[in-house]
């Protein structure tokens, strides 16, 4: 077993643990902190079903962003949608036998072209961050670095079209990790770069603004029903004030 395989294999376990345990812990925290008052923003749904529809529209279409900043919406949505398409394409490396729909031509082709779409979106966001004075003002180094990191992931992934690797061996390696029976990782530079950047992204996820992903679902302005007059909405700590 090569040193590269050992390092990457171990890092994969480490990053996966951080990613899943980290997000699970954040979700646990968000879910257990009370929201002591009703603060939904309009148009506030009256029912839980209404909340589900609202969140769906926010998550899938970025509805609020569409109403507030069209360019940011366009670039942001292109990037996120492309990320989803690329994720579907990559499932062929992690499923064995490959899930039937993953092997569809359209899913694979869409996943490929998504790389360009993703780059377009990310570069648009980066340009906006650099050239719009208000956005530049609020940007910390990490805001640029996260964009650059994901651009790096997209670019290195795309470059593998020209610097190919042994994808059968790669799949063996991934499946090996999943079933705890390791096999060698091809040590091609572009692949190692691509995977390394992905690992970094997984590790920083629960400690960065990437927490907006679970955060949105716990945002009281978006996930509460407007039923304040119908029933009391009292938190445990607030109830103690009543005695």
């Amino acid at each position: 077993m090569s040193l590269v395989t050992i390092i990457y294999g171990s890092l994969f376990y480490f990053a996966t643990l951080i990613l899943f345990a980290g997000i699970a812990y954040r979700i646990y925290e968000y879910a257990t902190i009370p929201a002591p008052l009703k603060i939904p923003t309009p148009p506030a749904p009256k029912t839980k079903r209404g909340v589900a529809v609202r969140l769906f529209r926010e998550v899938v279409f970025f509805e609020s962003l569409f109403h507030s900043a069209k360019w940011t919406w366009l670039f942001g949505w292109l990037f996120h949608f492309a990320l989803l398409l690329a994720f579907f394409r990559h499932l062929r490396y992690a499923t064995d036998p490959v899930w039937f729909w993953v092997s569809w031509e359209i899913v694979q082709a869409a996943g490929h072209y998504a790389a360009y779409m993703m780059l377009l979106g990310l570069i648009g966001l980066l340009v906006r961050r650099i050239f719009v004075d208000r956005v530049r003002h609020i940007s910390a180094p990490s805001d640029y670095l996260i964009l650059i990191l994901i651009i790096g992931i997209a670019l290195s992934g795309l470059m593998m079209k020209w610097y190919p690797t042994d994808i059968f061996a790669l799949k063996q390696f991934i499946i090996g990790l999943i079933y705890f029976s390791w096999s060698e990782l091809p040590s091609d530079f572009m692949l190692l770069l691509h995977l390394g950047l992905v690992l970094l992204l997984m590790i920083i996820f629960p400690y960065s603004k990437l927490l907006h992903a679970p955060g949105l679902f716990f945002s009281p302005t978006r996930n509460q029903t407007d039923t304040a007059r119908d029933s009391r909405h009292i938190a445990d700590w607030a109830r103690k004030l009543e005695s």
Binding site: P34, P42, S68, T72, I138, H212
Partner: protein, 499 residues
């Protein structure tokens, strides 16, 4: 107090987003609360010695009590979608008045002390130490937020800057740095019963005067009862309604509606204030204490319903929080929501044909409507989605012949705050108030130019007071702001029926 000299913003035909000017309004900060007012609310009288630790402890405490605070500090992607949405940014050009800029003042400290990357790589993630300079910035800029929630509507994560500025104010209060205007007023409500410190005899006298005025005008005995036990309705209204212009014309209107509908109602000297400044300072305990007066008054006067007068933040606390803070209200008539807005009452009576209007009585006015921020974005009316937008407009349309809305991007859930909300309606923040009124004044100017609008109706005591100043400042007439129930009172056809 005269308005201090500062550069007057120009009213443009088309609003644009200004280039930022760093620290443009860093010099603006309200007067600090004195020891006596701090201690009456349970806060230290001056900055405590170990204030850094105390402030961080308080932040940690609030992070465990308010999901909004925690999730919103974590979830901002710094996308900038909110940066051109705040009226204070548009009016002052100060980037710390961009919603995200304002949030980052607290977020950078949160990151430094409560997150792993902030502890080890502060520069990388924009984390900063909690220094005296940071505290001063908090004091300035968290008192340049009117908690109007316009940013929250536009944020892709729903981040509500009001939640963050409330938390910041509570942290500052807890280390002894409070705002004079809010804390003094809360003290007055606890002691006397209303924001203006109007005692019961003065209140009774004022209401008697009102009855005489209405009698002179209409030759009808419309009553404005105080502390009348066993009335059906307890009306809780902002104390400005008792004598400020144009507020009092609204109160006259409510009385006429109740009279014409034959409803028995009363005001309460114990709960002679609808506004709840406990919300402005982010203090659940103070907010609850203030809300309890209303419950006590309702029990004491043995009423069946509670109705709120025209007041924006009051209606937020009433609609969204009152049941939680001071409920359950199971001793009231279950046929009616608790509480109700005066507009809901009037609207229902119009639907039932109980009220008839002579619209021509308002023909000297071409009216537009200002959606008050807290009514628009933090409450509802009539239990249909968007009722808080349609009900006031339907009442205006039922009582006037000439109504025009302002630009769609400045009304309803996108409405601009008047510039004086959230505990900022104080003379020591006049520069901020006038600059913050700019977006609304620009939108008003457009309908004045395009449709000949002469008057703007509102249903919030703060809006009315603030616009009385801002209209004059921007070259309009100060009496162009009116109470919605002034229109109702003007047009209502009254007959002499005895109760």
């Amino acid at each position: 107090m005269a308005v201090k000299e500062f550069e007057k913003p120009e009213l443009k035909e088309y609003s644009d987003v200004p280039l930022l000017e760093k620290k443009a309004t860093a010099h603006l900060a309200p007067f600090k609360s004195k020891e006596e007012f701090q201690s009456s609310l349970g806060y230290p009288g001056e900055l405590v010695d170990n204030w850094q630790d105390a402030a961080l402890d308080k932040m940690g405490d609030l992070l465990k009590k308010y999901r909004s605070l925690r999730v919103y500090l974590d979830s901002c992607i710094q996308c900038g979608a909110c940066t051109d949405k705040c009226h204070y940014y548009l009016g002052t050009k100060d980037p710390s008045n961009m919603p995200v800029g304002r949030q980052n003042l607290l977020r950078s400290v949160y990151r430094r002390y409560f997150t792993l990357p902030g502890k080890y790589f502060p520069k990388l993630v924009g984390a900063v130490d909690l220094t005296k300079e940071v505290l001063d910035d908090w004091y300035s800029y968290y008192h340049q937020c009117s908690q109007c929630r316009r940013c929250a509507v536009f944020c892709p994560m729903g981040i509500d800057t009001a939640e963050i500025s409330m938390a910041a104010r509570e942290i500052m209060d807890s280390v002894g740095v409070g705002q004079k205007y809010c804390n003094e007023i809360i003290g007055k409500v606890h002691k006397i019963g209303n924001n203006l410190g109007l005692p019961e005899p003065a209140l009774a006298d004022t209401l008697e005067g009102l009855e005489e005025d209405v009698k002179d005008e209409t030759d009808i005995d419309v009553k404005y009862p105080l502390d009348q036990k066993d009335s059906d309705i307890l009306l809780v209204t902002p104390s400005a309604d008792f004598f400020a212009e144009p507020h009092v014309d609204g109160l006259i209107g409510y009385g006429k509606v109740f009279h014409q509908a034959g409803l028995s109602w009363t005001l309460s000297s114990h709960a002679s204030e609808a506004a709840n400044f406990g919300m402005f300072i982010g203090s659940y305990a103070n907010m609850r204490k203030l809300a309890m007066r209303i419950r006590e008054a309702a029990l004491d006067l043995n009423v069946k319903r509670i109705v709120f007068g025209e007041c924006g933040h009051a209606w937020r606390v009433a609609y969204s929080f009152l049941n939680t803070l001071a409920g359950p209200f199971d001793f009231l008539d279950p046929k009616y929501p608790v509480p109700q807005h005066i507009c809901e009452v009037t609207y229902d009576l119009i639907q039932k044909n109980v009220l008839q209007f002579d619209k021509s009585a308002n023909d000297d006015m071409v009216v537009t409507y200002h959606d008050s921020c807290n009514v628009a974005r933090a409450s509802n009316m009539g239990d249909v989605i968007g009722g808080q937008f349609t009900i006031p407009r339907d009442i205006i349309k039922a009582t006037t012949n000439h109504f025009y809305d302002m630009d769609e991007s400045t009304i309803k859930e996108k409405t601009f705050c008047c510039g004086g909300g959230g505990g900022l309606l104080t003379d020591d923040l006049m520069e901020l108030r006038m600059k913050g009124a700019l977006p609304r004044m620009e939108a008003l100017k457009r309908v004045v130019d395009d449709y000949g609008v002469t008057h703007m109706a509102a249903i919030c005591a703060i809006c009315k007071s603030q616009f009385s100043k801002a209209l004059g400042y921007y070259g309009f007439e100060i009496d162009q702001i009116i109470s919605l129930h002034q229109l109702v009172g003007n047009a209502l056809i009254m007959n002499k029926k005895e109760l």
